[in-house]
Each structure stands twice: as structure tokens, then as C-alpha cells.
Amino acid sequence: MIKLEQVTKKYGETAAVNGFSLEVNEGEVCVLIGPSGCGKTTTLRMINRLIEPTSGRILVNGRDTGQAKPEQLRRSIGYAIQSVGLFPHLTVAANIATVPELLHWDKSRIARRVEELLTLVGLPPAEYAAKYPNQLSGGEAQRIGVARALAADPPILLMDEPFGAVDPLTRERLQTQFAAIQQELKKTVILVTHDLDEAIRLADRIAIMAAGKLVQYDTPETILSRPANKFVHDFVGTDRALKRLSRINVERFIRPAASVALSASAREAKTAIGGKRSAWVVDEGGQLLGWIDKASLSEATSVRQAVVALDTKDIALMRCATLREALSRMLGQGLKSIPVVDENSRLIGEVTLGDVEAATAEAEE
């Protein structure tokens, strides 16, 4: 889909990018990562010809980009940047409509598309379409930035630290949302970042760059388990095992969990818990409410008296969560197992510390 062949960019005598070759398959997310000044942004900007390469070829769908008209080329490639670059004098709707307008779509089609995209990025069109960029929070602005890049439904998306300028919590939410959108749209994405966790989380393949050269190009799993050299080894850091956990979905590790209804009596609860020490407490609809300790049941007559209420949002995981999140919640809450719930916060099962340890050992091999 995208192919860079021996691409070099020189500024005077110094080469910002030096003999760089890379191939990105259709529908894949390729993350370019490396220390500051390694040439990752330059590489990205050469793909849509905001920077012209000194030598080498860049092929998009087998066609040499050097032969295309830069403006035409760029209209077929989505572009999202860290500073977002929303035009402050235009409404959110007009900002999103930028490329469709350049492509002379008719008005009703543009309006429909804007609505579609705002819904896609989770911002209600009725509320946001008429807003101006400085009425948005940082996270909202970045989501609009992504929506704008997707506006004309380009098959390729170039993103330069698209989640860079927001707080860590918002960033994580944006990443999760982006992963979900990507799952649905299957764009070919090249994303530049200096955040390794982001790379591991989002990438199908990671390209690690240093001093304008490609050092290793592989799946996140391989990069973590078999770094090509000392540079990559040092770059991924000593907590590789922990990082690997963020590539593993909890889904595979969900096991059935003992649960009792809030309305149950102490006797019923004891039978349900069986040989275990505790169980999750749910309401009639199966929604998670808290947990109960078997020992505390001997003094209580009903579950209602002995239940330890939980803030479900802080504890429970969704199916799409990673083992790293599971582990972090276990450590944070001092629990040996973490409940997993569905969209309506109904208990599905649990993930235990033992499973996380086993998964770590398995990945190590």
C-alpha cells in the first residue's frame, strides 16, 4: 500500500533521513517511533510531499508520489497533527468539511458526512457542529482533528503525534477510541509518536528509527521479546515484560466467577461461594455491585448486610481491556482478581493474578 524505497532527505550536508525503506500493508497501523530528531516526522511529511525527498521513491498503491500533483495527492491522504491545527475562524462543521469542499462535494453530502464523522468520534453533532475550535477542550479538539482527517474517507491516514497535546487520562481514552475506529474502518495508518506505550498499544507494526535510519521494523511483540540490537533494547526499557502485557487482551483469560445476588440469604451465599473465600455481588439484572467475604457471612444474616460496595468504574474491566490494565487495577486495589463486565456493567467473569503471571511467563518463552 505504502512503500518507501531508499528515501533520503538532506538539509545541506546533514541527512535527516538516510536511505530509509519501509513497506506498510493495507489496513495496518505502522507506528514510527524514535528519539527526538531521528527523522520520523520528516519521513511522514515526505509521504504527502509536504517535504520533498532528496532522493529515493515513495509509492502509494504502486504509484510514484513524485509524479502526482501534491495537492491532489494530499486530498487522498488524511493528515492529523499534534497541534491539531483546527482553523479558529471556522466552525467545527466547516473544519471537518475542508477536504470534501476541496473535492467539490455537494452541500448535502458534506453535511451528512460531517454528522456521520462527529458521531463516529463520539461528539453529538447537534451540540458540536456549530461550535468554534476555542470552545472545545483539548481532547475534543483532537477528536475533531481526527474526524477532519477522515472526512473524505481517504484510504491512508498520516498522523503526527495525534494524541500528544492532551493529559494522560484523555490520551488513553483517545487511543482506545482510535483503536475501535481503526478496527471498524481498517485504514492504512502511519502514526508518528515518541510514546512507546502508545506505539505498543496501537501498532500492528512498529518502525524504530535512529539518526534517520530504520533500526527495527516488527510487530510490537517481537520488538519487545527480541530487540534487534542494544539501541532497541535500551529504547524499549527494562519493563518490557510489563509493556508486553498491554498487547494481550483480557478476553482469553476471563474465567467464570462466583457471584451471589444481593437479595440472597447468608446460607444461600455460603453455598454459592463454596470453597472460595469471596464472591462478587450482583443485583437482579446481573449488574456488579460489590463483593462479599465468606468470613463476614458468619455474623450476617443476609448478603445485603455484609456486602462491600465497589465503585464499578474504578474496578471492573471491559472485554477490550488489556492484561496490563488488569494488573494495574489489582495492584492499585489490592485484589487478587478483577471482575470483567459488559457494556451494561453486568458481570461476565473475572481475571486472576495467577492468569496474569502465567501469561507473562508464556510471552517470555
Binding site: 501534491p70 493528515y79 491545527g85 479558529p88 475562524h89 476541496l102
Partner: protein
């Protein structure tokens, strides 16, 4: 916000109408000036009616300011483009020179070449008013954040489209502020045109100075001052109605 703007336009229209009614009515002027200066045998400049003088004056300002805008704004745009960037220092120097050079001196130099009357005055006013327009155009365009242009080009806008859709709307306020300063300066400076027969509100003032008639000076000065205030208001209204204001969007 919108309502406030509508009100400002209404107020301006009422004030302008009052001003026109006042200058069209020579009787009021004659009576009040006679009351103030009973010793003068004549209180109104005999050459032309006040209305004619104001129209002449507006003509001078209109022609020279239009020239200033038509040449100054494109000049400012050109020197901020890649093709014209090399000329940026020369253009700013030349326009600064145009303003430091006294208009009277321009007149003295222009008369032998262009004769008396309208032409040399327009040239002098044009040169004198060029600096604020060019300077503000350059300043406004340079203040457009580079990452916005990166986004614009990155999405496939051509240079011309980015200029008209992004750069000029964002710089409009600063450019209009430059035009406003230039026009106000011109209204005052256009007085000197009378010295070489270009007419305007300078005629009664110069006649008043020569004949030591304070009433003539007042007859020329007061309408000119009011004219400057009205023009200032007009351009201020245009600024807030048509140009993008950073703080407007936060409302």
C-alpha cells in the same frame, strides 16, 4: 453580539445623517460663527459652500486611500509569499521612508512634475498613508500560526486557496486596523492639498491663516474633525462586523 453590532451601525447612520444635514445648512454655520466672531466682516469662506468643500475633501481622501489600499494590501501579501519574501526589507524600508518624508515636501517636489491641483496631492497622500497599510498587512499575515498552514497545505489546499480561506480571514482584523489608521491620517493630511489648489476643507483654513480670520479656520477644522471621527467609527464597525475576532468565538 449581533444586536450590539446592528446598534452600532444604526448610531453611525444617524450621526452621519445629522452631520450631512448640518453642513448642508449654511445658515446655522453663519449664525453661530457670527455670534462667536462678531468682529469679522465675513465668517464663511466665499469660495464654495461647506457641502462642496466636504465633498472635495472626501474625494481627495477617497482617491488616495483607495490607491493606498489597492496597492498596499497586495504589496504586503506579495512580500510574505515565498516569491516575494526577498523584497520584504526593501518594501518596509521604502514605505517607512514614504511616511517620514513630509507630505509638504512631496508636494513641493511633485508640483513641477504633475502641476497644481488634484494629482500631486493624491500622490503625497498615497505615499504618506502607505506605511500603516503595508506594515499591518505584513504583521497580520505573519501572525497566522504556521501549524494552521501546515494543516491547510497537508489537507491539499493550494497556496492561493490557503491565502484567501485561511490567512486573509485570520489577518483581516490587523489589516483593517492598518487601513483605519491610514484613512484617519489622510483625512487630516488632505488639508495641505488646498495649498496647491486641490480644494477641500483645507481651503477655508489656509484662507483663514492668510487673512487672520479665525472663523474660516473653524469652518474648515470642525467638519474635518467630525469627518475623521465618523470615518473611524465606520471602519471600526467594519472591523467588528466582517473580521474574525479571536475573542468573539468564545462567547
Amino acid at each position: 453580539m449581533r444586536r450590539q453590532q446592528t446598534w452600532r451601525w444604526i448610531v453611525l447612520a444617524i450621526l452621519s445623517a445629522a452631520f450631512i444635514a448640518l453642513i448642508a445648512n449654511m445658515g446655522i454655520w453663519e449664525a453661530s460663527l457670527r455670534y462667536l466672531f462678531p468682529q469679522e466682516s465675513q465668517v464663511l469662506h466665499p469660495r464654495a459652500s461647506l457641502l462642496t468643500l466636504v465633498v472635495e475633501h472626501l474625494g481627495l481622501v477617497g482617491i488616495s486611500s483607495s490607491l493606498t489600499i489597492l496597492i498596499g494590501v497586495p504589496l504586503g501579501i506579495w512580500v510574505t509569499r515565498p516569491g516575494g519574501r526577498n523584497f520584504l526589507p526593501i518594501v518596509t524600508d521604502l514605505t517607512s521612508f514614504g511616511q517620514t518624508f513630509p507630505p509638504v515636501a512631496v508636494l513641493a517636489l511633485a508640483v513641477p512634475m504633475l502641476g497644481f491641483g488634484l494629482m500631486p496631492t493624491v500622490v503625497a497622500l498615497f505615499l504618506y498613508g502607505l506605511l500603516p497599510v503595508v506594515r499591518n498587512t505584513i504583521a497580520g499575515l505573519s501572525a497566522v500560526p504556521p501549524h494552521l498552514l501546515d494543516a491547510a497545505y497537508g489537507m491539499g489546499m493550494g497556496r492561493l486557496r490557503a491565502l484567501f480561506r485561511i490567512e486573509i480571514p485570520l489577518a483581516a482584523r490587523v489589516i483593517l486596523a492598518g487601513i483605519r489608521i491610514s484613512v484617519i491620517i489622510n483625512i487630516g493630511t488632505a488639508m495641505i492639498g488646498a495649498a496647491i489648489g486641490a480644494g477641500g476643507l483645507g481651503s477655508p483654513i489656509i484662507a483663514g491663516l492668510v487673512q487672520d480670520n479665525l472663523a474660516y479656520i473653524i469652518e474648515g477644522a470642525v467638519p474635518a474633525a467630525v469627518l475623521a471621527v465618523l470615518a473611524d467609527q465606520l471602519l471600526a464597525n467594519m472591523e467588528s462586523s466582517f473580521a474574525y475576532l479571536p475573542e468573539e468565538a468564545t462567547r
